[in-house]
């Protein structure tokens, strides 16, 4: 289907089903139960899952295929967000022009940065991109937010004010981001017994966009262009010796992944109309590197898994506090309860970084291919067991002649 081979088609369908049914999958525990703490099926987090999924898919086109490790991708995300919010301020709250502009601006910006940074490779490239991203962060945080020329609104973050022009804003249209009148915040809650599932308009919009860009990324992976990028990764020097100029290919990959980041940034602003400078900081750039490595560099689905994994930790583990722990272990005798809480305490709440760090180390050491490798190993083991069982069976039932 859609020009994909059978394996890729089934992957696309699986991803499609997962995103479509996410409100059910992410809310496995009934509301009000002790385990409800681990439910992730609320609109904001679901939106984050897919938006960072898009960001990581784009990053993977550059890092996974060409091996160029960019440490400054958050800059494109931030630029995308800022342009989207400016569209809200100037035109209207309709998200279409906002997202379109964010992709275009991020594309142009990445063309500029890519053109300069790609003159070097390896660690020098990483440092150059990092420098550019930090430069953009500093610009957004203070330089471009002075009262005389306020492009970014600095620390507070760019937001829409009542006295902004919004020249295309029609009367009666919602006063928050919407798609032709359908507000992104609109949520339909379905109560089934003790469970409740949220279906959010913004989430489904992001999910559909993610499916489209995921499909696009599969096509890029399987195309001759993708093959060229892989060639860059395996041995760029040899490629150059054969007379091929690899620069246009790497630059194209850089711009494409920059546009993906811009799209993610635009969507972020569309879900929540505020653009903060922090999303351009180096920690944000590092995060997408972690996501990609954690999920599986160079694999199609890996980055999406990694993005989901990290965002889950950031939003769910950071919110478990001592009170919650005490309520979980209330059945233990007092002294023991305190001891258990004391032991777990450093790993939850503000210690979620620690838990994530440990898991990241474990994954990198034991599963260098990321979560995807873990999945494959598991699958292989099951298959092997099955085939062994089959062998044993057939061995019994089919006597030799």
């Amino acid at each position: 289907m859609f020009g994909l081979n059978k394996k890729d088609t089934s992957l696309l369908i699986i991803v499609g089903l997962l995103t479509l049914l996410a409100p059910f999958i992410l809310n496995p525990f009934p509301e009000g139960s002790a385990m409800a703490q681990f439910n992730a099926g609320y609109p904001d987090l679901m939106q984050r899952f897919v938006i960072f999924g898009i960001f990581a898919i784009g990053f993977n086109i550059l890092f996974g295929l060409t091996g160029y490790l960019s440490f400054g991708h958050a800059a494109f995300l931030g630029v995308g967000s800022y342009s989207a919010v400016w569209m809200f301020k100037l035109l209207s709250y309709n998200i279409i022009p906002a997202i379109a502009l964010s992709v275009v601006v991020a594309g142009l910006f990445s063309l500029l940065i890519g053109f300069i940074s790609l003159r070097r490779s390896g660690i020098y490239f990483s440092i150059l991109t990092l420098a550019f991203a930090q430069m953009s962060f500093a610009l957004a945080y203070s330089v471009l937010s002075n009262p005389k020329f306020n492009l970014t609104n600095g620390e507070t973050g760019l937001q829409v004010y009542a006295d902004d022009p919004q020249i295309l804003q029609v009367a009666n249209s919602p006063d928050l981001p919407h798609l032709f009148g359908l507000p992104m915040r609109a949520t339909y809650t379905m109560d089934v017994g003790a469970w409740s599932f949220d279906f959010n308009a913004g989430y489904y919009l992001c999910a559909i966009i993610m499916m489209v860009v995921f499909y696009l990324s599969i096509r890029i992976f399987r195309s001759p262009f993708g093959m060229m990028l892989r060639a860059v990764k395996s041995n760029q020097q040899r490629m150059n010796y054969t007379g091929l100029n690899s620069k246009p290919y790497t630059l194209a990959a850089f711009v494409i992944s920059g546009m993906y980041a811009g799209l993610a940034g635009g969507l972020m602003a569309a879900m929540d109309p505020l653009a903060g400078a922090e999303r351009m900081q180096w920690t944000a750039s590092g995060e997408v590197v972690l996501m990609t490595i954690l999920g599986g560099t160079g694999t199609l689905i890996g980055p999406v898994l990694g993005a989901g994994f990290i965002k889950y930790f950031e939003n769910i583990f950071s919110k478990i506090n001592d009170n919650v722990l005490h309520s979980w272990f209330a059945f233990l005798p007092d002294g023991l309860e305190d001891a258990v809480v004391f032991v777990i305490h450093p790993f939850i709440g503000k210690g979620w970084h620690l838990t994530l760090g440990i898991l990241f180390m474990l994954v990198v050491i034991y599963l260098p291919g990321g979560l995807v490798e873990g999945g494959q190993r598991l699958l292989n083991r099951i298959k092997r067991k099955k085939s062994k069982a089959d062998d044993a069976k057939s061995g019994k039932t089919e006597p030799a002649e």
Binding site: D44, S142, G154, E155, G157, D163, L179, Y188, I208, F225
Partner: protein, 448 residues
């Protein structure tokens, strides 16, 4: 790349998929039955405490969290009741809010607008929080306040000192108990005039972001009204840790007062640098050189240690105040945690009680009812003396403290001494004052 010709079947298939995709959003148009966002239906009500638990203001955030937990205890009738006994409004009975037990969820703002909004959103969407309180930065406060306005819950700001929070960024659903940069300037100016005279030349070092600018603007305005001259205002990058290169030019600028518009770690570092350069031992224009830090906090004072001795600044509240509200709060906080509360802790504690009280008086959790109950509310007994929540911009007006680094501290907690309690009338201003104009409260938003 493989190419495929368009087939009839293919067109139909994609058409069906696209159609389903487009039709999908219509299921969202059904409206829900609740009267307002997160209407509490069971026997409990959830408050969201969104404070920095990591990052530069983590210490302040943790202090705020302690105070918020204490407030919840007092609301639920546990502990000694704290300020419920001194508060002039007697609507709160110690049986929760409107008979519902108070529960809370916590989140980490990381002192980043984005992270703070994500955390607040998850509290609203996932945990059903009906009010968000806390924070230790103006940028975060403005960002979260905007979110609460959109989502239809009440925001009770924590520590936020920039004029914009209740100035151009004010929102109908947001309330600030803390004082602001304008008030700092208005309170400090007379004390500065009395201590340093009316012919001074000031040099400003300002943290280069929103709060820094509004504070610089306010202090420059109020000191120039005294007759001072402003020699220079220099912006320093927020991420700086070494300010020596900014201090050296001060010596040759002809200035005799250095104003540090810095907060937190920035202030600790810049003050330390200034002391190392011996600024305080210098004599310029025939006068002793002085340093002013317009916004103080206990935690900064602890960080700067010896260096703050004799340095003037302003504060929202201090545990050494002698009114009944302060004594009650300091007593229950001290008994529970073994240390006196900071002024950021006090503002969060007061905000939680004020919110609960407004719900009781309004008889509802509906944000519009709460807004109405809080607007132009006059009260006393939460510290700071008689206080007025102005309806025009949702800013609290109360006495402001001018403090000085203690020359002879007797223990780890009295590093600051109160120089003067500036009466409320002196720090009041018109809601349309140029430093605050430009925004509008808008309509209260109950959400759903």
């Amino acid at each position: 790349m493989t190419t495929k010709s368009v087939t009839r079947r293919g067109v139909l298939k994609s058409g069906a998929v696209a159609g389903t995709g487009l039709a999908l959003p219509t299921i969202f148009t059904a409206s829900s039955a609740a009267a307002y966002t997160n209407e509490p239906t069971g026997g409990s009500v959830t408050l969201g405490f969104n404070v920095p638990q990591t990052g530069p203001y983590a210490e302040e955030g943790n202090d705020e969290l302690l105070a918020q937990q204490l407030a919840v205890e007092h609301l639920n009738g546990e502990g000694d009741g704290g300020c419920l006994n001194t508060f002039t409004s007697k609507a709160l009975k110690g049986n929760g809010i409107l008979g519902k037990k108070v529960e809370f969820v916590t989140g980490d703002t990381q002192t980043k607008s984005d992270a703070a909004r994500a955390s607040a959103k998850s509290m609203i969407e996932k945990d059903g929080a009906i009010m968000i309180n806390g924070g230790s930065s103006s940028g975060v406060a403005v960002a979260v306040q905007g979110l609460c306005q959109e989502a239809g819950v009440i925001f009770m700001a924590g520590l936020t000192h920039a004029n914009d929070t209740t100035g151009k960024d004010k929102k109908a659903n947001g309330f600030r108990h803390f004082f602001n940069a304008y008030m700092s300037g208005a309170a400090l100016a007379p004390v500065l005039a009395a201590e340093m005279g009316k012919e001074r030349r000031a040099y400003h070092l300002t943290a280069d972001y929103n709060w820094g600018w509004t504070q610089e603007e306010s202090i420059v305005a109020s000191t120039e009204a005294l007759g001072w001259e402003t020699v220079n205002t220099v912006k320093t990058p927020l991420a700086s840790t070494d300010f020596s290169s900014y201090i050296t030019p001060v010596l040759n600028s002809g200035a005799d007062v250095l104003v540090l518009n810095h907060y937190g770690g920035n202030m600790v570092n810049s003050l330390t640098n200034a002391i190392q350069f011996g600024l305080l031992d210098k004599v310029a224009n025939g006068k002793d050189f002085k340093i002013v830090v317009p916004l103080y906090s206990e935690l900064m004072a602890a960080g700067a240690g010896e260096n703050i001795k004799g340095v003037l600044g302003s504060m929202n509240w201090n545990w050494q105040l002698q009114d009944e509200g302060t004594k009650a709060f300091v007593k229950s906080f001290g008994e529970k945690y073994g240390k006196p509360p900071s002024n950021s802790a006090q503002t969060c504690y007061a905000q939680v009680l004020l919110y609960a009280d407004a719900c009781e008086r309004a008889g509802t959790f509906n944000p519009c009812g709460v807004v109405e109950a809080l607007e132009d509310f006059e009260f006393d007994g939460l510290g700071n003396g008689p206080t007025w929540y102005r309806g025009a911009d949702h800013q609290c007006f109360k006495d402001v403290l001018v403090v000085r680094g203690n020359e002879n501290p007797t223990n780890a907690y009295d590093t600051l001494e109160i120089v003067e309690i500036t009466p409320r009338a002196q720090v009041e201003y018109d809601p349309e004052h140029p430093m605050f104009s430009g925004g509008s409260l808008g309509e209260c938003n109950p959400g759903a």
